[in-house]
């Protein structure tokens, strides 16, 4: 009787189906971590460039599909914005660690963000940086002018708003400009790697993390120490940015690619040196009550 056989489980292994039904097609669905070509260990060495290309090729198709499926709520609902905060604590820590340790060949976006750009990191890192710069600047000025008779301590609260404007403008407008530029070049030259606007915002936000301990250490009133800190911070975050965006412009005209990378690093330098100059008084100069008077005095003295 067929009743007993009907009750047994059927094996649906590959061999069984292909043997039982030669006309059937079997589809292999692999996760991104299963195929050997996706292991990050292969991305080092001289063959790293080609492997990066392969990674970029396959990943971009899959993750664009996934990205399209994820953000399906219309933009006026709350759920749409919740998809940008879909990170756990350990993921945020991993991304911060990735921005602090740039390893050649490992692309920050591909490794840490590719599946899931978030807005939590950029927003709160910028907020912390704003207050870190304003508070450290105030504290450093207080310590430098401590012994002077004519110095009256003021909390300089106005500088918080100025710092907030600078940092948030940098963290949002520069990615916007860069994204627009990359889209424009993409329409002219077929690039293999392309980033969405949120991924660029994410990279910029997490790359600013190194400036938080740097701002705190800038309290030390030694010019040499401050400039060494600037070099270190610029080296780390600049290299994270350069290594992220090099694959995106590599296909382009050599000069345009180099100019893009140089501009990115230059703007980053401008930000750090500008913050150091504006919020932190120079340690050797005395008799200067406020930081805004200092440039005028040095210009007057130089004439």
């Amino acid at each position: 009787m067929a009743a007993v056989d009907d009750l047994q489980f059927e094996e649906f292994g590959d061999e069984a189906t292909s043997a039982a039904n030669p006309g059937a097609t079997t589809i292999h669905i692999e996760g991104p971590s299963e195929s050997p070509a996706h292991q990050p260990g292969l991305s080092r060495g001289s063959g790293g460039e080609e492997d990066d290309e392969l990674l970029g090729n396959d990943d971009s198709d899959k993750t664009e599909l996934l990205a399209g499926q994820k953000k399906s709520s219309p933009f006026w609902t709350f759920e749409y914005y919740q998809t940008f905060f879909d990170v756990d604590t350990y993921q945020v820590f991993d991304r911060i660690k990735g921005s602090l340790l740039p390893i050649p060949g490992k692309n920050f976006v591909r490794l840490y963000i590719r599946s899931n750009p978030d807005l939590y990191g950029p927003f709160w890192i910028c907020a912390t940086l704003v207050f870190a710069i304003a508070i450290s600047g105030n504290l450093s000025n207080f310590l430098i002018h401590l012994g002077e008779k004519t110095y009256h301590y003021v909390p300089e609260f106005r500088k918080v708003s100025i710092a907030a404007t600078i940092i948030y403008a940098y963290a949002w407008l520069v990615p916007l400009a860069l994204w627009g530029f990359l889209m424009w070049r993409n329409s002219k030259v077929m690039n293999i790697v392309s980033y969405s606007f949120l991924e660029i915002v994410c990279v910029y936000g997490y790359s600013l993390f190194i400036y938080i301990p740097t701002a705190v250490l800038w309290i030390i009133p030694q010019k040499a120490v401050r400039w060494i800190l600037v070099m270190i911070a610029l080296g780390i975050s600049g290299s994270v940015l350069a290594m992220t965006f090099w694959p995106a412009v590599r296909e382009d005209n050599r000069r345009i690619a180099l100019a893009t990378i140089v501009t990115i690093v230059f703007l980053h330098t401008l930000l750090s040196v500008g913050c150091l100059a504006y919020f932190f008084d120079a340690p050797e100069m005395d008799h200067l009550p406020t930081a805004t008077v200092a440039p005028n005095q040095t210009v007057a003295a130089a004439k």
């Binding site: 905060f85 990170v87 709160w124 003021v154 909390p155």
Partner: protein, 235 residues
Amino acid sequence: MAEAAESSGDPGTTSPRPLFAGLSDISISQDIPVEGEITIPMRSHIREFDSSTLNESVQNTIMRDLKAVGKKFMHVLYPRKSNTLLRDWDLWGPLILCVTLALMLQRSSIDSEKDGGPQFAEVFVIVWFGAVTITLNSKLLGGNISFFQSLCVLGYCILPLTVAMLVCRLVLLAEPGPINFVVRFFVVIVMFAWSIVASTAFLADSQPPNRKALAIYPVFLFYFVISWMILTFTP
């Protein structure tokens, strides 16, 4: 005297007897009294809400709200895991605390031209927009707390820092010097820790477990900035 006729099926069938069939045989005689009292506990409450809050004296109304605010102050000062702040939230306490803090922190008119401390409006904006941003952040991360409940908790937990501000103001009346600063620093640090502990006790349970640190860090930053403003206040 009620007597119901028994409704039965045709005699001769073997159908089972219906439930409670025997009840119809009982007749209620007059010597078994059936009487009693039914009291509804909520009745007096409902009557009170109907009309009496309109007719009560103004003092009663104000004292009731003030007592609610005071009760919540006690809960903040001795933080235990309780639901009082969340269940009956109100925004009177945060408003009183914020206005007090902003009035005490604003810069005097003497140095309003130079770079000085914050203005009243700046403190107000920092407190309220900071609380709104933290609440939005916690909701976006998936917390299940309502918007005003979170504002209520964050506002009430400014109470230790307002107390620190009062103490600092009193200490600043004495002569300035390093001891003055050390005392103020110590007071502000203790009250800052108290605020963090109080708000964590109320807010931590409403966050998803793997994102607690992400939701608590902005609270830490918020109270840190307020503590900084209190510590650097110079009259």
